[in-house]
């Protein structure tokens, strides 16, 4: 009886995907076609773009609409960064990529 319960348990658990400790998101890439030409040379430069979404998307859409309607004045760069820029997140990401050996081409929120 115990053995059969263990076996059933193992069968059920085998259908649960293994959660990788380092991964949090699924990668979605384009639908690819083409014929393989081998590996990308190890020394080839690869640019990685990192986009940090604004802090408050709903408020941003509201403000953009109000500015578009000339209901409020234009916002300057400092105001935009203060309202929507995730400065701390950018600093963390820059630190992470530098620690891994990446060259940071540019950052926008803090220079």
């Amino acid at each position: 009886m115990k053995v059969s319960l263990i076996v059933i348990g193992l069968v059920i658990m085998s259908s649960i995907p293994v959660i990788q400790s380092t991964a949090y998101a699924q990668y979605y890439g384009p639908q690819f076609q083409g014929i393989s030409q081998g590996s990308l040379p190890e020394s080839a430069g690869v640019c990685i773009s990192v986009f940090i979404p604004p802090k408050d998307m709903n408020y941003l859409l509201l403000l953009a609409q109000e500015v578009g309607n000339h209901q409020i004045k234009l916002l300057n760069r400092t105001q935009l960064i203060s309202l929507f820029g995730n400065v701390e997140e950018e600093a963390n990401l820059v630190h992470y990529f530098k620690s891994k050996g990446f060259h940071v081409v540019y950052r926008v929120l803090s220079h």
């Binding site: 990788q20 400790s21 380092t22 991964a23 949090y24 998101a25 699924q26 990668y27 979605y28 890439g29 384009p30 690819f32 076609q33 083409g34 014929i35 393989s36 030409q37 081998g38 590996s39 990308l40 040379p41 190890e42 020394s43 080839a44 430069g45 690869v46 640019c47 990685i48 773009s49 990192v50 986009f51 940090i52 979404p53 604004p54 998307m57 941003l60 859409l61 403000l63 953009a64 500015v67 578009g68 309607n69 000339h70 234009l74 916002l75 300057n76 760069r77 935009l80 997140e89 963390n92 990401l93 992470y96 990529f97 891994k100 050996g101 060259h103 940071v104 081409v105 540019y106 926008v108």
Partner: protein, 410 residues
């Protein structure tokens, strides 16, 4: 934007990058699903492949030689034995649109990929040939700068066209050619840079991605744990730019109502379909010549008439769509507030404005030292950008998003 060699990228994302050849286009991509490190939670990552479905929206009709216009042979676009076309100089276009050359104290950014290795020399030749003041031009590469790729991919002509068309309409404006390192996600990096640094008052983007293939492009994302399938991830930068008072223009496309895709419903281009971008469609422009001649490139002219750029019988395009102005209804964006009232629309409709785009009524452009006749909505977008730069120069303040009342929809 960060840069590393391939082996380091492979190590961090736990994958291998392979090279592929898709009908002559060489690109790299991951061979196995990459693992996104925990530290990158909540952000959007692009660049693990340089495969792209973003296209420049220009059409090179041919080059001008001593014998006149020599039709472009690659791709072979021509049926039959007859060939005739009109082509306009900067002065003729200024006359057609009743433009008083201005643009002082206004900066226009044109966003392109790869660039044109001869851009500075081409602009010098353009200015001398057409008696324009020397351009105030800044070339701003974003990331790796290899303009030689522009020659192989056709982005050299696109870049030259954009800069020269803006300079035609606003000869005294400062033009920044913001050059992305590839025609994929790096283009959105360039938008990000212009918005984040508030580099320009007017932006022209003569490129686009059919909304119908966005789902297959990788340009959709999870945001705060919620899936946003088929939603172009970069639209928030246009909202940020609109709040900052930047006027964005984007080409509506050159492949008609289906946007070059296999569909019976229709299709439009992103970023032209963004509610915070003014979409520019195409026309065929005909002038009223008052002095000189178009053939001798010395005409004085004013506005004759314009028709929507539609299919020309002698023009063949080997695809599911015709060669004509793009436009229709977005499948991604609901009708913005400024369209609901006047168009009774459910979805964002485009284009918002139009200008000359028919390659058979195209503009003379210097590309790699040669005069070419180029059209497409790639011409229309920078023409509008230049005209708005003139208006802002005279008014002394930015106009921002043009679409809401009282400027466009009212």
């Amino acid at each position: 934007m960060v840069l590393a060699n391939a082996s380091l990228v492979e190590q961090v994302f736990q994958t291998k990058l392979g090279l592929f050849n898709d009908q002559g286009e060489i690109y790299y991509r991951p061979l196995t699903p990459p693992v996104v490190p925990l530290q990158l939670e909540g952000v959007l990552i692009a660049g693990l492949t340089n495969f792209t479905q973003i296209m420049p929206e220009d059409i090179v009709l041919g080059r001008l030689g001593t014998q006149g216009l020599i039709p472009s042979t690659s791709p072979t676009n021509y049926y039959g034995f007859q060939f005739s076309a009109l082509y306009y100089t900067p002065q003729e276009l200024q006359g057609a649109y009743n433009v008083t050359p201005a643009g002082k104290n206004v900066t226009v950014a044109v966003i392109d990929a790869y660039g044109d290795p001869e851009l500075v020399q081409d602009l010098k030749s353009f200015d001398i040939q057409f008696h324009l003041p020397p351009i105030n031009l800044t070339i701003l590469p974003v990331g790796a700068y290899h303009p030689i790729f522009g020659i192989f991919s056709g982005w050299d002509a696109e870049t030259a066209l954009d800069v020269e068309a803006v300079h035609t309409m606003a000869p005294y404006a400062h033009v920044i050619a913001v050059i992305a390192s590839n025609p994929g996600a790096a283009l959105f990096n360039a938008v990000d840079l212009v918005v984040s640094e508030d580099l320009a008052q007017v932006v022209s983007m003569s490129w686009g991605l059919p909304e119908n293939v966005i789902g297959a492009s990788g340009f959709y994302a999870y945001f705060q744990g919620m899936s946003t399938p088929n939603y172009p991830f970069l639209d928030y930068y246009f909202a940020l730019g609109a709040a900052e008072g930047i006027t964005f223009f984007a080409s509506s496309g050159d492949t008609g109502a289906y946007d070059g895709t296999t569909t019976t419903y229709g299709g439009v281009n992103f970023p032209a379909s963004s509610p915070f971008v003014t979409a520019v469609g195409g026309t065929s422009l005909y002038l009223n010549v008052t002095k000189g001649s178009l053939e001798n490139k010395n005409a004085s002219a004013n506005y004759g008439f314009e028709t929507a750029w539609s299919v020309l019988p002698q023009y063949f395009y080997p695809s599911v769509s015709s060669v004509s102005s793009g436009g229709g209804m977005s499948t991604l964006f609901p009708a913005p507030w400024y369209q609901i009232k006047y168009l009774h629309a459910n979805m964002r409709e485009l284009p918002d404005v139009a200008a000359d785009a028919n390659p058979y009524t195209g503009m003379i452009v210097y590309v790699e030292g040669v005069q070419e006749v180029i059209g497409g909505t790639s011409l229309a977008s920078p023409l509008w950008a230049g005209m708005i730069a003139d208006a802002e120069s005279v008014l002394g303040h930015p106009l921002g998003l043009l679409n809401p009342a009282p400027i466009l929809y009212s």
